[in-house]
Amino acid sequence: MSFHVGEDQQRVLTVSRKSERLVSLTIALLATKRFLTKKEIFDSIEGYEGEVDAKERMFERDKEDLRTLGITIEVGSFDPLFEDEAGYRIRIDDYQLEISNLTPRQLGLISLASKAWQDSALDGTSLSALVKLKSLGVESDLDGLPEISPRLVAMDPNVARIVDAISSRHVISFSYIQEDFQQKVRAIEPYGTGTKNGYWYVAGRDLDKNEVRVFRLDRIHGDISYQGKGSSYSIPEDFRMQPLLSSKAKLHKALLEIRRGKAISLVARAEEVVDGDEWIRVVLPYNEIDDLASDVLWYLDDVRIIEPVAARDRVIEALDELIQRHG
């Protein structure tokens, strides 16, 4: 047997010691009928070592860690005569899953939902959710469920950070790429998150502008940081993420001429289509003239704007600039 424990082995031991200590602590706090004092905890659980100060700091970190795992520790008074002797325990009602039954089909759906995160940001999170629900003892039944395998692409670690921040009500700050491509630090109280067209978004109250703003995650430069303590704000009752990701209603209409068979995606967005020989005419709703001009020029000489004049002029202006720049 070797007396010299290598550095790698030391690290493995430390890792396993900490996880064992956390589990032992959970067992102790769950099993006890009355509150346990710090001294009782230090004396009976392996892993609290060193001076009292060190043990207390370790315990504080452990409590925080258990809180991160969603475990609520109840703090109470151990002895009415010694008011400053705090006691700790975990109530089974706080600890236990409130869902006590699921049908096999429901578990099948949960199983599919969890698979959506395969190899993505919340892979581990959705897996631990799934194993907990599987512990109800029900067998997953995928029969009768449509052949659907939802798949998310969420490789950005910020997705997980945002979900955690929303869950723990932590203010977050990040460096955001503005419209002029310059970076600016923004800080928000995150309220919600979502994905659309492959992009991930976070919405929350911008501390600077004091209103709800939406940010696209691929425009965030670097890691999101947590600011201050958790539970530092509440999410408004009437907050809804879905509408923030929906396309805004288009306020204006343009008349376009499109070469037959071309620009299918524009034709798909059109309100009216009038057929023709070589050219068809469509009425296309839009909001911003620049966006319309951009969309139209993508299709080169297969699409022309007829009305409104302002949009026509914008395209002409853009073409003149292109001609001049590439002259």
Binding site: E20, T125, S128, I148
Partner: protein, 296 residues
């Protein structure tokens, strides 16, 4: 699966193993490791550590895994299933929302609504998810690759502004820069092609056997151009995609398609200027004049 767990992840898993084993008495080590998506070795370490934790004066938990099948007794404290953390609820709600988008089956949809409610009414309003890839396509593609059968679908190419029907021998899927692709041998091109999953529609798995040989090495974008941005910086920069290298006062971009470049420069409304190669500069000039002529 190879990633080492942090102490917190490990503690979380150890706590969850107890109720799982309790309701799956006699499960094999390999099956249990598969359920928790860890290596057999790591599971054995976890079980060993759990066994030691069970030796405290607070709870005598009897864990037996010597025979390669796992049993647990007297786990009165830890056999309770731990409540779902908020992040866990949110992850499931998002997954369920995606399934809902891909089915019109009313039974399933109301089942999903009920499940979302049970997971947490409040969380539902905090998340939104629309799939970029139809969940119906994934099983078809996976099936095609596994059973070596031909896949037929309609494919839209924005660079060519064309929607065509393709028949392919699927080879494998890959994820690049946050986009899912299918690499396959395309019958009409008689060559290997890369297709974006989010542009594939009306997939049909045919009974015909795919005969394509192994995948050849990926084609690198052969066209290198130099550009300069003049305005609408973020919008134009994002339009150029990820394969961009910042030079002193220009951008170097690698691309496959001249057509894509032409359209992107035009759609840039003058804010994107092509510097090199000269021939392409002239092409752009010509094209812009051609389109301009229509507006007299």
């Amino acid at each position: 699966m190879v990633k080492k767990s942090t102490p917190l992840e490990r503690a979380s898993r150890m706590l969850d193993l107890v109720p799982f084993i309790h309701s799956h008495q006699g499960i094999s080590i390999d099956e249990l490791a598969a359920e928790f998506k860890i290596e057999r070795k790591e599971l054995l370490e976890d079980l060993q550590a759990l066994w030691m934790c069970g030796e405290t004066k607070f709870d005598y938990m009897d864990l037996d895994f010597e025979s390669d099948y796992v049993f647990i007794r007297n786990a009165d404290t830890l056999k309770a299933i731990r409540t779902l953390a908020t992040a866990e609820r949110i992850s499931l709600i998002i997954g369920l929302t995606l399934i809902e988008s891909d089915t019109s089956n009313q039974d399933i949809r109301s089942e999903i609504t009920e499940l979302r409610n049970r997971l947490g009414k409040d969380f539902e309003s905090q998340v939104a998810a629309t799939p970029s890839i139809s969940g119906i396509n994934i099983p078809l593609i996976e099936d095609a690759i596994k059973s070596r059968r031909i896949l037929e679908f309609s494919y839209y190419s924005p660079s060519n502004d064309a929607k065509t029907i393709r028949k392919v021998d699927p080879l494998f899927c890959k994820l690049e820069n946050g986009v899912q692709y299918l690499v396959a041998h395309c019958h009409s091109s008689a060559a290997q092609r890369t297709f974006r999953l989010d542009r594939m529609e009306n997939l049909v798995l045919l009974d015909e056997i795919a005969t394509a040989k192994e995948a050849i090495a990926d084609e690198k974008p052969h066209l290198q151009v130099l550009l300069r941005l003049h305005n609408n910086l973020r919008k134009n920069r994002e339009a150029l995609g990820a394969d961009v290298i910042q030079k002193k006062d220009s951008l170097q971009v690698q691309l496959f398609s001249e057509s894509w470049l032409m359209r992107t420069v035009l759609a840039g409304l003058g804010g994107i200027e092509l510097l090199e190669p000269i021939e392409l500069r002239e092409s752009i000039h010509k094209r812009a004049r051609l389109i301009r002529a229509h507006y007299r």
